[in-house]
C-alpha cells in the first residue's frame, strides 16, 4: 500500500520492456493488488505519474497554476492527518511541484517524518526531499541531525549511504560538528560503499568547519593504499582539500602519510593507471579512469608547489602522462590540461615546461572550442613564467580576438594584454584597436583601460602615445572609464608644447565628425579640456602641419552646440564650461559671446552648472582683474604610474584595480608639499594621526593601494557621474566631518561663497593652481568648498586634500560640506553615492569585535546600531609579510535577519594593507545576531579559506514595516 512508485509495465509485453527492472513480476503483482485495494479505499490521492500528466496537459500558465494549487491544497490537508500512508507519494508530488518553482516549504517537516520512518522507500524519498527543501538557512534543518545520526548507525548499508549523501549535500557547520565523529568512524568501515561516501562527507565537513580537520587526519592514512577507485578518488579529494586548507597539514602529508610517502604513492597509482592494461570498468574512450588521474595530478601540483624534492619525484611521471595520453578525445585533453597546469606550477625541469607550452600551442590550434578556451586560459596563467614561449603563439591568440564566442574573446583579450611588450606594442595596439571598435559594450571599458595602460608603459614616443590615446577614445566611445579621461589629460598636460598643439588640433578634428560629441563623451571631455587649456596655441600658435583653424566664432558656436545639447552629459558640460571660461582669456575677439553663454548658465536647472555659471560670471564683472591669473594654464601634471596587477595573479585585469592614478600633486600647489608626492608611503605623521582618527589602525603601508583606488579627481568624477543609492553615507560623512573638525583644526573662517574669498590678492596665486587642479576634475562643488580656507592657509587645506586622498573616497567629499553651508544640502545629496560606490567606507569608532586573528590576518567588525538597520564595518588588516590576493569575505546571518553586503574596498591585501567593507543587517524578529564569516583569499597562488563565527553584537529592534 505504498505505491508511490508506479510503472505502466503491464501495458508492455515483457520482451519490449526496456526498463531495468529486476523485479518485473513482483511489480506487476503489486500493481494488481494496489489497484484492487485502491478501488476499495476512497478517496485515494492522485498518483505522481497522473499529476505530472495533468500538469503537462495544462495549456496555459494559469491552468497549470490551478492544477498545482488544487494539488497543493490537497497535499496540505493530508499532511494535517497523522500517520498518512500516502505521505511518501505526496512528498514525491510536492518535489515535482517544487521543481516547477512553486513554494513547497510546508513539506519540510513531512520530509523529516519520512526520514524517521523505518521503511527504506520512505527514507529514500524523505532524504531526497530533505536535500531539495532544506538547507542550512532553514531552522528546521537542525531537526534532521538526530535522524541522520541514527541512520549513520544503521545496519543497512544503503540507509547509511542515504544519510551520508544527505549530510554531504546540506551539512551546516552545526551539523558538521555534531556528526563529524560518526563520519570519522564510517571512514574506517570495511565496506567500500560506505567508506567512500564517508570520505567525501569528511571533505564537506572540512569545507564547512576547517577546524575539524584534525579528527580526520588519522583516517586518511590508509586511503591511498586501497585498490578500489571509489576510495582512491574520494581519498585524494579529501587530502587535496586538507592540503589546500592548511600548510601545516600539507607538511604533515609530505613528511608522513602512514606506510609510504605520499608523492611516490601517488606516482605509483598514476603510473599503474597509465601503464596498466585495459580495464573495462574504468575505461573512458581508451583512457583509464580520467577522473582519478585528474584528481591525482591536482594533488601532485599542490605537493610539488615550491618544493624541489617533491617536484623532482614527479617529473618523470608528468612527462609520461604528457607524452602517453591519447589526444583525439576530450578525455585525453582533460588529462593533458591538468598535467600542463601541474607542470607549470611545480618546480619542473625546463624541458618539461617546453613540452607543456607546446601542448598548449597544440590546444590553440584544436578545432574544438572548449580546448581552445582552456588553452587561452592556461596560457594566461603561465605567461609570466615563460613569456617567450607564449609569444610564439601570438598570431593565433590575436586570431581568437575575432572568435564569435564571447568566452574565448575575453580570454584572448586578457592574454593579448599580457603579451604586449616594447617590441610588439605597435602591431598589438593595431590589432586591439580593431578589436575595440567592434567589441561588445562589456569589453570596451576593460579593453580601453588595458590599452591605455600598455601604451603608457611601452609607448615608443609621445606622438604615437597621443595618437593611440585618441584612437582609443574614439573607438571605445562612451564606454571609456574615467581613468582613461584623466590619464589622457595628464598625458597631454605633460607633453611638450608642439605635441600639445598637435593633439589639440587632432581633438578638434575628431569633434567635427558627426555624433562624436554624443556618442563619445569622454573624447568630448578631453577635447574641450585641451582646447580650453591650450586655446592660445590652438588658435594662434605656430601652425606646423598646416592645420585648418576654425574662426573664433566657429569655435564658440561648437561650444554652444555642446552646452545646449540634451544628449551631452552634465559632466561633459562641466568640462565645457570650465574650458569656455579658460578660453575667455585665450581668445582675442569673442569674449562677449563667451560671457553671454556663461551667464546663460546662471539660471541652469542643474545646480552644479548653475553654480559654475554664476561664479564664472563674477569673473567677467567685479572681479574682472582676477580672471587672467585665475584661469592661467595648469602646470604640467606629474605622471605617476602604478603598474597594474596583472603580475602574479595570473594576469587577469582586476576590475577594482585602477589602472592609472593621478594623485593630488597639482592641488598642493607648485612648491611646498613633499608630503603629497606620488609615493604615498612617505606621508608624514599628521597623515597617520588622521588615519588613526579615521579608525583604521595601520593604513600607512596600505595607503598606496588605497590611494590608487581613490585619487581625488577620479573619485570626484565618480561623484559626478554616479547618482545612485542616496541614503547611505550621510552619517558617515558627518562622522568624518566631526573628526576633521576635531583634529585637523581646519582653519575656520566663516563659510563664504568661493570666489569672494579670492579677493585677497596674496592668495590669488594659490587659488589659481587650485582652480587649475579643480577644473581638471570637473568638480563643481569643490570650487566653493575649497577657497573657504585659503586666506589663512590654503596650503594646509590643499595638503589636507592631498592626504585625504589616501584615506579614501569619502573624506574627499567630506570637504565639500565643510566649506559651503549655502548649498551643503544639495551637495550632500550628490555626495552620498561616493562612499558607497567608491567602496571605501571609513569605520567609525566603536566596540570592535575581532572575528579572526590568524597568521597576521586580522578581521574586525565594528557594529553601529541605527534606527532602521545595523551597520557593521568590517576592517581586514594584513600584518604578515605576504600579499593576499582575491580576498573575499562572505557572511551569513540567521534567517531572522536580513544581510546586505556592500562592495568591499578591494580584493588585494599587500603587507600592511587594509580592506574595508560595510554590511547592513536588518532584524525581522527579536533575536540575537550571530554572524558566520567565510574568508577566502589566495596566498602564493594557493587558495585558503577561513571560517569563523562572530557573536556579541548589540541588540537590535526588529524593523517594522
Amino acid at each position: 500500500m505504498y505505491p508511490y512508485y508506479e510503472q505502466d509495465w503491464s501495458v508492455l509485453p515483457p520482451e519490449n520492456n526496456r526498463r531495468f527492472n529486476p523485479a518485473f513480476n513482483m511489480a506487476t503483482i503489486r500493481q494488481a493488488f494496489t489497484e484492487a485495494v485502491e478501488r476499495v479505499r476512497m478517496p485515494t490521492p492522485t498518483r505522481l505519474r497522473d499529476l505530472i500528466r495533468q500538469i503537462r496537459a495544462a495549456r496555459t500558465a494559469a491552468e497549470e497554476r490551478a492544477v498545482v494549487n488544487k494539488e497543493c491544497a490537497y497535499i496540505r490537508s493530508t499532511f494535517r492527518e497523522e500517520d498518512s500512508v500516502w505521505r511518501c507519494r505526496n512528498i514525491a508530488k510536492l518535489l515535482y511541484i517544487h521543481m516547477l518553482g512553486y513554494p513547497a516549504h510546508f513539506g519540510q517537516l513531512e520530509c523529516l517524518k519520512l526520514t524517521a520512518s523505518t521503511r527504506f522507500t520512505d527514507k529514500r524519498i524523505g532524504y531526497l526531499g530533505a536535500m531539495l527543501l532544506l538547507d542550512e538557512r532553514q531552522d528546521v534543518h537542525l531537526l534532521i541531525t538526530n535522524c541522520l545520526k541514527n541512520d549513520l548507525n544503521s545496519s543497512t548499508q544503503f540507509v547509511v549511504g542515504l544519510a551520508l549523501c544527505t549530510l554531504g549535500a546540506i551539512a551546516s557547520p552545526e551539523m558538521a560538528r555534531d556528526l563529524a565523529s560518526e563520519v570519522e568512524r564510517l571512514m574506517k568501515s570495511p565496506n567500500t560503499y560506505i567508506r567512500k561516501k564517508a570520505t567525501l562527507c569528511a571533505f564537506r565537513v572540512i569545507r564547512r568547519v576547517p577546524e575539524l580537520m584534525e579528527i580526520f587526519l588519522p583516517a586518511t592514512r590508509s586511503l591511498l593504499s586501497e585498490k578500489n577507485h571509489g576510495i582512491l578518488i574520494t581519498g585524494v579529494t579529501l587530502i587535496t582539500e586538507m592540503c589546500e586548507n592548511s600548510s601545516d597539514t600539507l607538511m604533515h602529508f609530505k613528511k608522513d602519510s602512514g606506510n609510504r610517502e605520499i608523492v611516490p604513492n601517488l606516482v605509483r597509482i598514476l603510473k599503474s593507471l597509465i601503464l596498466g592494461g585495459y580495464s573495462p570498468e574504468h575505461d573512458v574512450s581508451g583512457v583509464s579512469d580520467p577522473f582519478l588521474q585528474v584528481k591525482i595530478l591536482r594533488l601532485l601540483r599542490i605537493l610539488g608547489h615550491n618544493d624541489p624534492d617533491a617536484s623532482e619525484a614527479m617529473n618523470d611521471i608528468l612527462a609520461q602522462v604528457a607524452t602517453n595520453t591519447e589526444t583525439s578525445k576530450n578525455v585525453g585533453n582533460t588529462i593533458l590540461y591538468e598535467t600542463v597546469l601541474s607542470i607549470m606550477d611545480i618546480r619542473s625541469e625546463g624541458g618539461l615546461r617546453v613540452l607543456a607550452v607546446n601542448i598548449l600551442g597544440r590546444f590553440l590550434l584544436n578545432s574544438d572550442k572548449n580546448i581552445r578556451y582552456v588553452a587561452l586560459n592556461t596560457l594566461l596563467r603561465t605567461v609570466h613564467a615563460d613569456t617567450s614561449a607564449v609569444q610564439r603563439h601570438r598570431t593565433t591568440i590575436l586570431e581568437c580576438l575575432k572568435d564569435p564566442d564571447v568566452s574565448i574573446r575575453r580570454r584572448a583579450m586578457e592574454l593579448s594584454f599580457a603579451l604586449i611588450n616594447a617590441q610588439n606594442i605597435r602591431t598589438m595596439t593595431k590589432e586591439l584597436l580593431l578589436f575595440l571598435e567592434k567589441a561588445d559594450a562589456e569589453f570596451k571599458a576593460q579593453c580601453s583601460s588595458g590599452m591605455i595602460l600598455a601604451a603608457e608603459r611601452y609607448s615608443p614616443n609621445s606622438r604615437w602615445h597621443l595618437d593611440t590615446q585618441l584612437s582609443v577614445l574614439i573607438a571605445a566611445g562612451n564606454y571609456v572609464r574615467d581613468d582613461v579621461v584623466s590619464s589622457t589629460i595628464q598625458l597631454v598636460s605633460s607633453s611638450p608644447v608642439p605635441e600639445q598643439t598637435y593633439i589639440t588640433n587632432r581633438f578638434w578634428e575628431s569633434l567635427q565628425v558627426s555624433n562624436h560629441c554624443e556618442d563619445k563623451q569622454p573624447l568630448l571631455q578631453v577635447a574641450v579640456w585641451a582646447i580650453g587649456e591650450y586655446g592660445d596655441l590652438f588658435m594662434y600658435g605656430a601652425n606646423e602641419d598646416e592645420f585648418e583653424r576654425p574662426t573664433e566664432s566657429d569655435l564658440i558656436a561648437v561650444y554652444h552646440k555642446f552646452l545646449t545639447s540634451a544628449q551631452v552629459s552634465t559632466t561633459s558640460k562641466q568640462y565645457a564650461l570650465v574650458s569656455l571660461a579658460k578660453l575667455s582669456t585665450r581668445l582675442q575677439q569673442c569674449v562677449e559671446e563667451i560671457q553671454a553663454l556663461i551667464t546663460s548658465f546662471g539660471s541652469h536647472l542643474n545646480v552644479d552648472l548653475q553654480q559654475r555659471g554664476v561664479e564664472f560670471t563674477q569673473l567677467f564683472g567685479s572681479y574682472k582683474h582676477l580672471r587672467p591669473p585665475l584661469l592661467e594654464k595648469m602646470p604640467a601634471m606629474q605622471i605617476s604610474r602604478i603598474s597594474s596587477q596583472n603580475g602574479e595573479s595570473g594576469g587577469s585585469f582586476d576590475d577594482n584595480s585602477p589602472d592609472v592614478i593621478e594623485n593630488g600633486v597639482e592641488l598642493g600647489g607648485s612648491s611646498t608639499h613633499p608630503l603629497i608626492e606620488s609615493n604615498m608611503n612617505t606621508m608624514g605623521d599628521n597623515t597617520n594621526i588622521l588615519l588613526d582618527l579615521l579608525g583604521s589602525t595601520d593604513l600607512s603601508a596600505g595607503a598606496s593601494d588605497l590611494a590608487m583606488a581613490t585619487d581625488l579627481s577620479n573619485s570626484v568624477h565618480k561623484k559626478n557621474t554616479r547618482n545612485a543609492n542616496n541614503d547611505a553615507t550621510v552619517s558617515n560623512n558627518q562622522d568624518l566631518l566631526d573628526l576633521l573638525d576635531l583634529d585637523m583644526s581646519a582653519p575656520t573662517t566663516t563659510p563664504v561663497m568661493g570666489i569672494n574669498m579670492a579677493a585677497d590678492p596674496s592668495s590669488a596665486a594659490n587659488m589659481n593652481t587650485m582652480l587649475g587642479g579643480l577644473d581638471l576634475s570637473g568638480f563643481g562643488g569643490g570650487i566653493d568648498a575649497m577657497p573657504n580656507s585659503i586666506p589663512t592657509n590654503g596650503n594646509d587645506l590643499a595638503s589636507m586634500l592631498g592626504r585625504l586622498n589616501v584615506a579614501g573616497g569619502a573624506p574627499v567629499h567630506a570637504l565639500a560640506p565643510l566649506g559651503s553651508d549655502v548649498n551643503s544640502s544639495s551637495l550632500l545629496g550628490e555626495l552620498n553615492p561616493t562612499a558607497a560606490s567608491n567602496n571605501v567606507t571609513v569605520p567609525p569608532q566603536g566596540p570592535k569585535l575581532t572575528a579572526l586573528d590568524k597568521n597576521g590576518l586580522l578581521v574586525q567588525l565594528v557594529p553601529v546600531p541605527g534606527s532602521d538597520c545595523m551597520k557593521i564595518f568590517m576592517t581586514t588588516t594584513n600584518s604578515s609579510d605576504n600579499t593576499l590576493e582575491q580576498y573575499v569575505l562572505q557572511a551569513a546571518v540567521q534567517k531572522s535577519f536580513k544581510l546586505q553586503m556592500l562592495t568591499p574596498s578591494g580584493s588585494v591585501l599587500p603587507p600592511g594593507g587594509v580592506i574595508t567593507q560595510e554590511m547592513r543587517v536588518v532584524a525581522t524578529s527579536n533575536a540575537v545576531l550571530r554572524m558566520r564569516l567565510r574568508i577566502q583569499y589566495t596566498l602564493d597562488g594557493q587558495q585558503l579559506v577561513e571560517q569563523t563565527e562572530v557573536s556579541g553584537f548589540p541588540e537590535q529592534q526588529p524593523a517594522h514595516e
Partner: protein, 157 residues
C-alpha cells in the same frame, strides 16, 4: 567542487536541480533564470564554458536537455564535461536510451543516480557498474517493501 547542477529543456523548463551550496530560494531561482536564458541564447558552435560571477559554468546539450554545472575557479572544466557525460551514460543505461520524458516522469530516479555518482559536489565512484549496481539493489529493496506492504494490507501476511 561542483556548486550546483541544473538540467533544463530547450524550452527553458527546469528538469532537475541539485544544489551543493546553500543559497536562499530566491537566489536559486534567480541563478536558474539567468543561466537558462544565457545558455539558451548561445549558439551551438560556441564553447561550453561561461565565466559567471566568481565561478565557471560548464554546460552541454544532450538532445533536448541541457546539463549545466557550476564549478569553482580551480576546477577542471574539461573534466566537468566528462562528469556530465558520465551522468548521461548512467541515465541511459538505467532507463535504456533515456529521453527527456524519462527524466520528467522519474525525476526521483534521476536524483538517486546523481547521488550515487556525486556527493557534496565531488565524484564518489568512477565505475559505471558500481553505480548501477547500487541503484539496482536499492530499487530491489523498495520493491520488496512494496510487495510486503501490499500483502500485509490485504491480509495475506
Amino acid at each position: 567542487m561542483m556548486l550546483f547542477m541544473l538540467l533544463f529543456s530547450r524550452q527553458g523548463k527546469l528538469r532537475l536541480q541539485k544544489w551543493y551550496m546553500a543559497y536562499p530560494d530566491k537566489t536559486k531561482k534567480k541563478i536558474t533564470r539567468e543561466l537558462v536564458t544565457t545558455i539558451l541564447a548561445r549558439k551551438p558552435k560556441m564553447c561550453s564554458f561561461l565565466e559567471w560571477k566568481d565561478c565557471k559554468i560548464v554546460y552541454k546539450r544532450y538532445a533536448s536537455l541541457y546539463f549545466c554545472c557550476a564549478i569553482e575557479q580551480n576546477d577542471n572544466e574539461l573534466l566537468t564535461l566528462e562528469i556530465i557525460h558520465r551522468y548521461v551514460e548512467l541515465l541511459d543505461k538505467y532507463f535504456g536510451s533515456v529521453c527527456e520524458l524519462d527524466i520528467i516522469f522519474n525525476f526521483e530516479k534521476a536524483y538517486f543516480i546523481l547521488d550515487e555518482l556525486l556527493i557534496g559536489g565531488e565524484i564518489q565512484e568512477t565505475s559505471k557498474k558500481n553505480v548501477l549496481k547500487a541503484i539496482a539493489s536499492q530499487d530491489l529493496l523498495q520493491e520488496d517493501e512494496a510487495v510486503e506492504g501490499t500483502l500485509r494490507d490485504i491480509g495475506l501476511l
